[in-house]
Amino acid sequence: MNDDLAFSVSEFVAILNQTLEFAYPSVVVTGEIANFRVSKNRWVYFDLKDEGATVRFFGTVYQLPGPLEDGMMLAVRGTPKLHPLYGFSVNIMAMRPVGQGSIKKAAALLQAKLEAEGLFDPLRKRSLPYPPKRVGLVTSAESAAYRDFVKVLGARWGGLEIVLFDVQVQGEVAPAQITAAIQQANQLAEPLDVLVVTRGGGSAEDLQAFSTEQVTRAVAASRIPTLVAIGHEVDISLAELAADQRASTPSNAAELLVPDRKALLAQLPAYKRQLEQAALQVCEYAQRQLTQHRLTLHDRTELVLTRATQQLHARTQLLAAYDPQAALRRGYALVQADGALVRSGKQLAPGAGLAITLTDAQVTATVKQVTMNKG
């Protein structure tokens, strides 16, 4: 007993923590979650267990990769600590679900949560500029995804400016790097037209960064329209669901982003024919209209003339009614004395000379007698 080290309780806790810190500054422990709970919306407590043991873990909600549940497999990196009051626990530095089942479960929980918040709402989706001029690209510069994307893009369309944000696309630091890259892309002085986030195929674990809450929210919050393509056709990450548009692969992302120059060139003759047809149709229409106008011009002028002719005719008839010759033809005669028309017997006396106009003769006569009519 005398050889033993002797401590007060506080001293023991302090010396043990020093030893732990020296021996295990950071450990990664993998196990099944049990007794998961969140306190005051801030503190996270759970146990990791396997068949033989259970260890307590402690951290904050900010470290959560998304919602967690008992039974999921989790890998946690942290510092082992003996708390003076609450006993032994591992203080969490980072954590991520492991194993197909847990990753899927975690993703499903997170998906339900973000879905409820409306992050995947189709109404939020904006259309991408087509084709864009300045493209932001968040991926690993070393990756096949990067090479495929740039190759397909170049083959289809030229003259694009690509701003690369080189990030790790898997591993513990990936979510933070990808998130930072998306935020940085949104803050460039010269704005980007579209932001592409992509990586090639891999295991569910490899693709995990793109289903974290952090990255999914960053994609949803991007002011620049986003195109996200993660893994193969069958893989759908939450970042893809939050994106304005999703593509199945990096190559497919390039295909969606820009038209195919060759296909457009092949369509050109048809467009030209359409253009020419349309132009000629305008001319034809104008020609028909002009013909119609000419007819109208003619008709309206003719109508004016016809009306004038009719008016003239009516007046001629009226004039004819007043023609004295017509009266003479009916047997009336004009009687004049001293060059004036005789309208009354009072103008005349026996012996006066008369000039009588008939329809076909001039007669000279002398008045014998004037008898005035009675009454």
């Binding site: 001319c283 104008a286 020609q287 106008h293 011009l297 309206r300 002028t301 004016v304 004038a308």
Partner: protein
């Protein structure tokens, strides 16, 4: 001295419309009608010329394009 720009198809077409409208007025005089008719025919001829030119230009452009 700036030369007055050539009237457009639209401008001439509007003038022809105006002539047609005046011919429809009830108090139009024969002399005026004849003058308007003459004016209308001249405007129609000008439009015809415009159209011919346009169609020829389209066909010429097409020929140039096909030749390239």
């Amino acid at each position: 001295m700036t030369k007055k720009p050539e009237p457009s198809y639209r401008e001439i077409s509007d003038q022809l419309d105006a002539v047609l409208a005046r011919l429809q007025q009830p108090d139009i005089q024969v002399d005026d009608a004849v003058r308007l008719y003459e004016e209308g025919l001249a405007l129609a001829a000008a439009l015809e010329k415009h159209l011919q030119l346009a169609e020829n230009t389209i066909r010429k452009l097409k020929a140039v394009d096909s030749g390239s």
